[in-house]
């Protein structure tokens, strides 16, 4: 049991907010940047479009990391019995997944844009793009791991 002031749910709500908002920013940047790259290279090589959807899917997965943590935090929000400890732990969890997702989304977007444009000109680059995208995606996963570990603290 810890102290239970009235304002501790504010920090929990801010945790859920930052989890969703920042990972959505990263996912939106990733989708937009690689989407414009796909639209540009599709004119030259329409048969490579479906293969090039990979960066868009990975950006969507980053948004899902944020949704998972936000839903977990929102499920634990209560008016009474919500200690300051829980509030700050949830804030930390939300910030960790959110800001990592923002950074990972930026990386996925930039790499996806350059990757699909390069793959259109040189198809052997596809495997290299996948490898770099995996490393970028795993940054968001690190944030998710820390968030889940924090969330499960008693």
């Amino acid at each position: 049991m810890g102290e239970d002031p009235i304002y501790s749910p504010f920090f929990g709500v801010m945790g859920a907010t930052s989890a969703m908002v920042f990972s959505a920013m990263g996912a939106a940047y990733g989708t937009a940047k690689s989407g414009t790259g796909i639209a540009a290279m599709a004119v030259m090589r329409p048969e490579a479009i479906m293969k090039s959807m990979l960066p868009v899917i990975m950006a969507g997965i980053i948004a899902i990391y944020g949704v998972v943590v936000a839903v977990l935090i929102a499920g634990e929000l209560t008016a009474t019995g919500y200690t300051l400890f829980k509030g700050f732990v949830h804030l930390g969890a939300g910030l960790s997944v959110g800001l990592s997702g923002l950074a990972a989304g930026y990386a996925v977007g930039a790499v996806g844009d350059a990757g699909v444009r390069g793959t259109a000109q040189q198809p052997r680059l596809f495997v290299g793009m996948v490898l770099i995208l995996i490393f970028a995606e795993v940054l968001g996963l690190y944030g998710l791991i820390v968030a889940i570990y924090l969330y499960a603290k008693k």
């Binding site: 908002v21 989708t31 868009v56 899917i57 929000l77 919500y82």
Partner: protein, 225 residues
């Protein structure tokens, strides 16, 4: 005359070359004022007066709820507007040489508009949750007060989630829609494939809607404990 002309050019250390740091100036001015205020309180022995918890307790939950409602709809509309601006300009530009694209690419504009509708829905749902509570009852009964204060915070959070997520989603859908319009102008078979990317972008806005509905489902204002 020569020296005045070369000073108004963008050479380094000319009068105008410092203008690009204006955001840095504003941010450092705010940080300086805040530092002076905090040091004043701390050094005169009143450090506990700087209390974020006091601020959260004293402000009315109506303020948090109303700011949440306002931001939910306004930021969503800003996102939708930025999206429509990017997409619409590209549709018109590409339609100069390929006027056939103008009807099919209205789908991209509709995707952006849907983002604004998400914000509108959440704002209406949030407004329906704002209920009057009697202040005397709140002061006497701890459960009533904590429930109302919690609802205020939850509505603020739900509004921020919806607003900012729809803002970035609208910008994203607009960018991809612009690419879709231009590749459609080049080759009509490409439009449907690039539309798939727009659907991924639209899904981000839906995630924000789901999470904010989840957050708001816990909130209940009013006089009941």
């Amino acid at each position: 005359m020569m020296s005045v002309a070369s000073n108004t050019a963008s050479t380094p250390y000319s009068y105008n070359s410092y203008a690009k740091y204006v955001y840095g100036y504003i941010a450092s001015l705010i940080a300086f004022i805040l530092t002076v205020i905090v040091f004043y309180y701390v050094l005169t022995g009143r450090g506990e007066r700087i209390d974020f918890g006091w601020f959260l307790m004293e402000t009315s939950p109506y303020m948090w709820a109303s700011i949440g409602v306002g931001l939910a709809v306004s930021l969503s509309v800003v996102g939708a507007a930025l999206g429509i601006y990017t997409t619409g300009v590209s549709i018109i530009g590409g339609g100069v040489k390929a006027p056939r694209i103008k009807t099919k690419n209205l789908i991209s504009v509709i995707f952006c508009e849907a983002v604004a509708i998400y914000g509108l829905i959440i704002a209406i749902v949030l407004t329906g949750q704002i209920v009057i509570y009697t202040p005397e009852l709140a002061d006497s009964d701890y459960t009533v007060k904590s429930r109302n204060w919690f609802s205020g915070y939850a509505m603020f959070g739900a509004g921020i989630i919806t607003g900012v997520v729809n803002l970035v989603c609208g910008i994203c859908v607009g960018q991809v829609g612009s690419g879709a319009a231009l590749s459609d102008a080049a080759d009509p078979t490409l439009f449907v494939k690039v539309l798939i990317i727009e659907i991924f972008g639209s899904a981000i806005g839906l995630f924000g809607l789901i999470v904010s509905v989840l957050v708001i489902s816990k909130a209940k204002m009013g006089d009941k404990a």
